[in-house]
């Protein structure tokens, strides 16, 4: 194993992981690439090829043992440990994320939340107290935070990201509608509904003129 894995493959692994977790809940013990592919609208060959980058996990003639493949993917993706997260920006979006409750069960623990609005600082959000964004660096260091989530207005986003970079955080989930500039060893995943909608309209437009 362990040559250079294509990035597209890494993007699909969590999809497999989630579906396998569902299958396990449904008490399915064995699944074929065929069946997994049907649930994800991905070709079976693609799934087999993707998995083959990491090893041989299946049984010929049967398929994959759900629990076992789940364990393998957990390890491959690094989900067999806890990840410590800092959230920057406690507006509606930030609160929605905290409230969502889908992060902790997957091992993502938001340990600290920050904002630049003096009226919010000191306020409690669940178990956490909103801190001044200026304390970001100190808290990241003290608590050993691994991942930053940026949910601040666009005008502040690059500054916050620069700060996270200087804190040696290497992974950022960015909700701000900007194109962040970061060093090449950083991983940034951008989530922007407007960009998503704009790709959708391209296709809608071409529907009416086929």
């Amino acid at each position: 194993m362990a040559a250079l894995i294509p990035e597209v493959v890494i993007l699909r692994l969590p999809l497999y992981f989630r579906t396998l977790a569902l299958l396990k809940e449904e008490k399915t013990e064995i699944v074929s690439s065929q069946e997994l592919g049907a649930r994800l609208q991905i070709t079976p060959a693609q799934i087999r090829k993707d998995l083959s980058y990491f090893g041989k996990f299946g049984t010929q003639g049967k398929g994959y043992n759900v629990s076992q493949l789940l364990d393998e993917l957990r390890q491959i993706l690094g989900l067999d440990r806890k990840w410590l997260v800092a959230l920057v920006g406690v507006g509606r979006l930030g609160r929605a994320l905290l409230d969502y409750g889908g992060l902790a069960p997957q091992g993502f623990h938001v340990l600290a939340v920050f904002d630049s609005d003096p009226r919010k600082i000191g306020e409690k959000v669940g178990e956490l107290v909103i801190q001044d964004v200026h304390k970001l660096a100190a808290t990241v260091k003290n608590q050993g935070i691994n991942i930053g989530i940026v949910a601040v207005p666009p005008s502040e986003a690059q500054a916050v990201i620069d700060c996270l970079v200087s804190c040696r955080i290497k992974a950022i989930l960015n909700y701000a509608p900007i194109a962040p500039v970061v060093p090449s060893d950083m991983r940034v995943y951008n989530i922007d509904p407007v960009l998503a909608l704009q790709t959708l309209t391209y296709h809608l437009k071409s529907l009416n003129t086929p």
Copy 2:
């Protein structure tokens, strides 16, 4: 023009569009693929190639006229008109989206909001009254809704999406953490922070063992 445009290209166009809009606000009149690329961490050749699928928009020796290219992209992406949006699911996330205020300026008008929780139905959110999700089909037809945003719990999501499909909606922005099954003429864009975080951890993990 108008062969078959690669999907990756369509995913980048909104990025160009947004950056050009910013450049226009900054009163920049001309931009080269070089400069645009620097802001987006995309190679100049890529940008030129992407644009070349749609026509010739630049001037040799100078670059691209910002306003003009912006107009072209607006037309290409179908952003020169209004799009009517229905939001299904008015939890924290749905409210955060409505409150965000970034959709309307880009021509995405949320005309109707739905929920299945009887306690929420009739409640006002901004200018809109939350409707029973059972009225989705009727409202979509009456108001000519083009796009659905799904922000319901995962257990309800596929049913909501099936409903949107049967309403002949062709584009969905899905926030529910599921892998929706839809007919092939549908466009679904999925936004899922957990999947995003799980791709990030893959890379973080490999950082400590280089």
